[in-house]
Symmetry: C2
Subunit: 203 residues, 2 copies
């Protein structure tokens, strides 16, 4: 289901509706929808208006397969070293070195930051916030996935030396039945005037 | 003018409408509007769902004055060392060490990241993207401003050692007539399959 965008949904409703999805249908859709979303993301503010972002849309099946192989190689090395609380959390969540979403999803957006721009990484991640909401508005599910060996993936995608891979965002229609992970309440994460001073709704 | 949110605007229209504002009216508005926006921001995804963000809403005039003093002290030191291209850019943009927006704006949101959470800064900046769009939806103008001496400002706000100040976001009604800074086209910032391969709309 693609929403046509003629009846906009509030940012709050989009943000609450969006959840992290790790299982995608292989059903594809028109590339222009993704280009529209990147066109939204590029409106984000950035340090010195340097617009330090670059987006690579991956649709080629062979290349997605290769990305998956490189990421899974990195993940195997990562998992072989994980211990303690993180290992337990990964086990409970059913996460492993296997990343089928990288080949199942019809598209992956690889997002890069320009290394030397001021506040480059901050600006790029702010733009990723815009991007995820624009995708959700169109009924497109997404995952923000950063492989442990990002430089190897960047090289595969022929990333020039002055850019850094920030994240891979597989996109598509959700086949993930898991509910959204709960969030803490706004009162728990907000203070008034000084850090730790409880929010008073009177202002 | 506050939009009532009963007629939502698309994410794209909000993103295109939002511009960086450096001059604010001192006119205030209800704190609950800001709390609503933080309630949207907290829906962002985060590494390990750690929700590594904390928001401090500053409304106290004396505290805003003190924040401005500390930031301007840091800016004076920064400006005394700026040379070359950046100095020229600052001059052209009419920017200086003076930061009146820190006392003019009725509110500042100080955004903090939890230092030890995975992908903490990335997650917090992604949530800032959500926050800016939620503010814009309510007709609230904003600026993302990170002082050069962020640790001094964090200390003033009684930030605990395990958090880091990411950004100060002064908020209010715009009195800034400057147009939005132009953005490069989506074609310039997007590649197909490999970095640098021109986007083909056929996909």
């Amino acid at each position: 289901m693609i929403l046509d965008g003629s009846t906009p949904i509030s940012v709050g409703d989009l943000a609450r509706r969006r959840k992290t999805v790790r299982k995608f249908s292989s059903e594809s859709f028109d590339l222009s929808l993704i280009v529209e979303c990147i066109d939204v993301a590029k409106e984000a503010p950035s340090g010195k208006n340097a617009q330090p972002w670059h987006f690579v849309i991956v649709s080629d099946s062979g290349l997605k397969k290769r990305i998956r192989e490189v990421c899974e190689d990195g993940e195997k090395r990562f998992y072989s070293h994980v211990r303690g609380e993180l290992a337990e959390w990964l086990r409970i969540k059913g996460l492993s070195w296997e990343k089928p979403f990288l080949t199942d999803a019809p598209y992956i957006i690889a997002v890069f930051s320009h290394k030397k721009s001021p506040f480059s990484r901050e600006s790029v991640w702010l733009a990723v916030g815009y991007l995820l909401l624009a995708l959700e508005e169109r009924g497109i599910a997404s995952l923000t996935y950063t492989p442990p060996n990002r430089d190897e993936v960047a090289e595969l995608l022929e990333c020039p030396a002055e850019y850094r891979l920030e994240v891979l965002i597989p996109l598509g229609f959700s086949e993930d039945d898991k509910p959204k992970e709960p969030r803490r309440s706004v009162e728990e994460i907000t203070s008034m005037n000084y850090f730790g001073v409880k929010l008073s709704r009177e202002g």
